[in-house]
């Protein structure tokens, strides 16, 4: 068995990082983000990054850490409303931003990972999103062509990883992670738990090991909550 487990995040990213590269990262908001690996990317000093991720983290956590250190040249995202430094850089034209509808972003990564260079979707037809893109009629509706995304490096957060690199996510922390895992030239995963071979149900594996080249035991599992909302007891 080719050993995919690495001792820590720095070692897992060895030889993979270069200035100007494109990194795709899983997560929705701060849920299911590869906390450990993002911190290692920050520590490496790599810069001029293009980041592909649904959100841009918050000011002092997640991808916001890379923004704060001005490591990001371009952001491909669907929603970035939770980050003041992002807003400052965006309004000062220090940061290039490409907005994608959320479903389009997910599908672009799914397509890129599946060897599909482009696809047509109704989402965005008649809006700014379709400007400069091919619009084609199928049946009685118009569809806009969107391209697949392949990233130089994909970073994902899993709940469990077995020694082969099969991954299972937990609840809504799954979100973009399965598509991100497929769209990297190299995919590095961090898992909250490393479990023995044979302990994952083969029918319940979310990301099969073929998509994962390296993985580590996650050492940052803060799972910060953006909007803690509760109800009184006994509803």
């Amino acid at each position: 068995m080719a050993e995919k487990l690495r001792a820590n995040a720095d070692i897992a990213l060895e030889g993979l990082l270069f200035d100007g590269m494109t990194i795709a990262a899983g997560g929705f908001g701060l849920c299911g983000i590869p906390e450990t690996l993002i911190q290692a990317v920050l520590k490496s000093g790599v810069r001029d990054l293009t980041l592909v991720s649904n959100n841009a983290g918050v000011d002092d956590f997640g991808l916001g850490l890379l923004l704060a250190e001005k490591r990001v040249r371009r952001m491909v995202a669907s929603y970035v409303g939770e980050n003041k430094e992002f807003e400052r850089q965006f309004l000062a034209n220090e940061l290039e931003v490409e907005f994608n509808p959320q479903g389009t972003l997910a599908e672009r990564m799914r397509a890129g990972g599946a060897g599909i260079p482009a696809f047509y979707t109704r989402t965005g037809v008649g809006t700014m999103i379709a400007e400069g893109k091919e619009v084609r009629r199928f049946g009685d509706s118009d569809y806009v062509m969107e391209t697949g995304i392949v990233a130089d490096l994909a970073l994902v957060k899993a709940w469990k990883a077995d020694p082969y690199g099969n991954l299972v996510y937990r609840k809504s922390a799954r979100n973009f992670n399965p598509m991100v895992a497929t769209c990297g030239q190299v995919t590095v995963a961090e898992a909250e738990m490393l479990v023995p071979a044979g302990s994952l149900d083969p029918d319940g594996i979310h990301t099969p090991a073929v998509f994962v080249q390296r993985f580590i035991q996650a050492t940052s599992n803060e799972k910060r909550i953006e909007r803690r909302t509760t109800r009184a007891e006994a509803a």
Partner: protein, 218 residues
């Protein structure tokens, strides 16, 4: 509403409750962030609705108690939420396959502007900070029926139901029903015109006409 005493127009809760009456038994629905989220509080008894959250939950439960808070269970507004016995968790691609594939019956969304041709603008104001479309463009492109909840006029009093949207669109010809604090407009098909079907308590047709730029049937 019957409980209203001399108040003019509908409150946000009343608008949400009215939208909830559009739910049908067995519907799967997606509720937008803000006032649309309140719709979930008013689903009539005996009407079983499954709520979908585009970050990857089919079958949203209520907000958690302090003890139940789980950082791995959040809704599209990034609020902590709970699961139900029917819940399934899915990837973003599968979640948007539900949305874009026409498998969701109804979505309730907020808006900055709605036009008489059904165009919707709710994602950006040029020159201001743009937060991004999130899943709104996918929802209006793929969900079978779109209900918009919004104030009838903007904070400075200008009409938000317009001849044409002045702001960049979220979707073209996508709105089926518009519920404001003053009135409700509906249309039978996406080719047809909107018709005024209800007035809020204390609101006259004259007032609605004065505060609306869009043409509509009465």
């Amino acid at each position: 509403m019957a409980t209203d005493t001399g108040m003019k127009g509908w409150t946000r809760d009343q608008m949400a409750a009215r939208a909830a009456r559009e739910m049908r038994d067995g519907f799967t629905a997606n509720l937008g962030i803000g006032i649309p989220t309140l719709v979930g509080n008013f689903i009539p008894p005996g009407v079983d609705v499954t709520l979908q959250s585009e970050n990857g939950i089919l079958g949203l439960g209520p907000f958690p108690t302090e003890q139940e808070v789980d950082p791995d269970i959040i809704n599209a507004g990034k609020q902590t939420i709970t699961e139900l016995d029917r819940t399934s968790y899915v990837s973003s691609a599968d979640s948007f396959a539900m949305i874009r594939g026409g498998h969701i019956d109804l979505s309730v969304l907020g808006a900055m502007e709605v036009a008489e041709n059904g165009d919707l603008a709710n994602w950006m104001i040029p020159g201001q900070m743009i937060k991004g479309p999130g899943g709104a463009m996918d929802l209006v492109a793929g969900v079978r029926r779109i209900i918009v909840l919004m104030d009838h006029v903007s904070k400075n009093g200008s009409p938000k139901f317009r001849t044409r949207c002045t702001l960049p669109l979220t979707g073209a010809n996508v709105v089926d029903m518009l519920i404001t604090d003053l009135a409700i407009f509906d249309r039978e098909s996406r080719g047809g015109p909107f018709r005024l079907i209800e007035l809020a308590p204390g609101v006259t047709i004259e007032e609605v006409l004065a505060k609306t730029e869009a043409s509509f049937e009465i």
